[in-house]
Symmetry: C2
């Protein structure tokens, strides 16, 4: 690659976007709008198995996107940085726009 500086940004950007490229992770992140949540609540809200939710949360934690707090038997997860939701919303708007555009084309 020619431009190393740019390439590093492409890498970081790509890694960041991988976070958003899975529906369960998106559902989890979306759920954090209402503040911190327990694993079991995320399980029931997403409909995924406990194992799957826990693994995705573990991934998000490894990436430094969420942080945990234990209270008794419950573990609360929350977003570290609200800007993640900012990015989420911006992309979401584009997705909805373009989907509407496609729907219009199909009609």
């Amino acid at each position: 690659m020619r431009n190393h500086r740019a390439w590093e940004i492409y890498q970081a950007h790509a890694e960041f976007c991988k976070t958003f490229s899975h529906p369960v992770r998106l559902a989890i992140l979306d759920g954090f709008r209402e503040g911190e949540k327990t694993v079991s609540r995320l399980v029931s809200e997403t409909g995924a198995t406990q194992s799957t939710v826990s693994q995705q949360l573990s991934l998000l934690r490894k990436l430094g996107i969420v942080r945990t707090r234990r209270e008794g038997r419950l573990v609360y997860y929350k977003l570290v940085d609200q800007r993640v939701l900012k990015a989420y919303d911006l992309v979401d708007a584009v997705v909805r726009e373009t989907r509407m555009g496609q729907a219009k084309i199909l009609a």
Copy 2:
């Protein structure tokens, strides 16, 4: 999944983000700021092999993100919808911010 409507959006959102979750694709998309480009130009600009660039372009075309135009032996690719770059820039800003934040933490 409980909420089907929301789930479909999560799926679409995730698919959309997959587009951005690969550095070569990002480099290609970024390159389209300067307008349409030939495959060979994208090859030399990204440093990836012709095969790889062509495959990624083929993927982007299948997703309806780029369109092609043939002129002699050259094939020009261009973005269909500039909003893709809008989304790109918005996420990019967040990535750069958070990276700077991490650099500050590390220092």
